[in-house]
Symmetry: C2
């Protein structure tokens, strides 16, 4: 499985969000050793009655529950959009090995944009970062969603 393969699975999750009228963002947690997907989630913040229900938070919580641990050492997170400040910090707390994202988010991102959390001294675990995987597809899905909303 390549980064693109895993991102296509995250995109599939994002499309599930769109189908529920949620902002289409999807995430996958994968074990790079076995190639196994540990958890999948999509954004549910609009109708889930939970301000924290971003795809990344949900997938981290699912994986932690499944593996009965608070530390996801060695796992890789694939997410269609650059994580926000809340999610970037959650990725760090969960000790995720690699963070792979699709489209950049200038307005709300916190990895290459905004607070650039992983470069800060209050960040105590920095994942390896890969950006731009399937970025056109990830970005287009969001553009189409908001266009249809207008």
């Amino acid at each position: 499985m390549t980064d693109e393969d895993f991102m296509l699975l995250a995109l599939k999750e994002a499309r599930k969000a769109a189908a529920s009228d949620e902002v289409p963002i999807g995430a996958i947690l994968a074990d790079p050793q076995s190639g196994r997907v540990i958890a999948k989630a999509h954004n549910k913040s609009e109708f889930g009655n939970d301000a924290t229900a971003h795809a990344e938070i949900l997938v981290i919580r699912k994986a932690c529950r499944k593996l009965k641990t608070k530390r996801l050492w060695g796992l890789d997170l694939y997410v269609t959009l650059e994580p926000c400040t809340m999610c970037a910090a959650a990725v760090s707390f969960a000790r995720i090995r690699r963070l792979v994202f699709g489209a950049a988010d200038i307005k709300g991102g916190a990895v290459l944009n905004g607070v650039c959390f992983y470069e800060q001294p209050t960040c105590h675990h920095r994942p390896e970062i890969v950006s731009g995987i399937c970025k056109e597809e990830c970005g287009q899905l969001l553009k189409d969603f908001f266009k249809q909303k207008r």
Copy 2:
């Protein structure tokens, strides 16, 4: 009910965390109009198998579920320690009116320390901030906990 009254309730939550061998941080969400406590929570990140289970995230999720909304307009959050980057951003997403905290957190805080999230252009809702309420008691509880761990 004064800020101190609500913070004493948050401290009571923090002590529950300590009793479960969790880092003693407690949080309360209150409706300042009615003086009613909407939700209470304490940190469960160590044994809760959830990297995101900080007191603030848990109390926001509880209140959202209870009030069937993702936006906690008009509610005030009381927390014994300065929120971290993840929680500071969650407070903003939840549209909390006022954030009142006890002890400052130089190493991990994100309000007056670290990324100073509410001063950043990627922060789209800034709560009113009050710091230092019962700070000695809030800080001492943490110091005692870590001293006993060593």
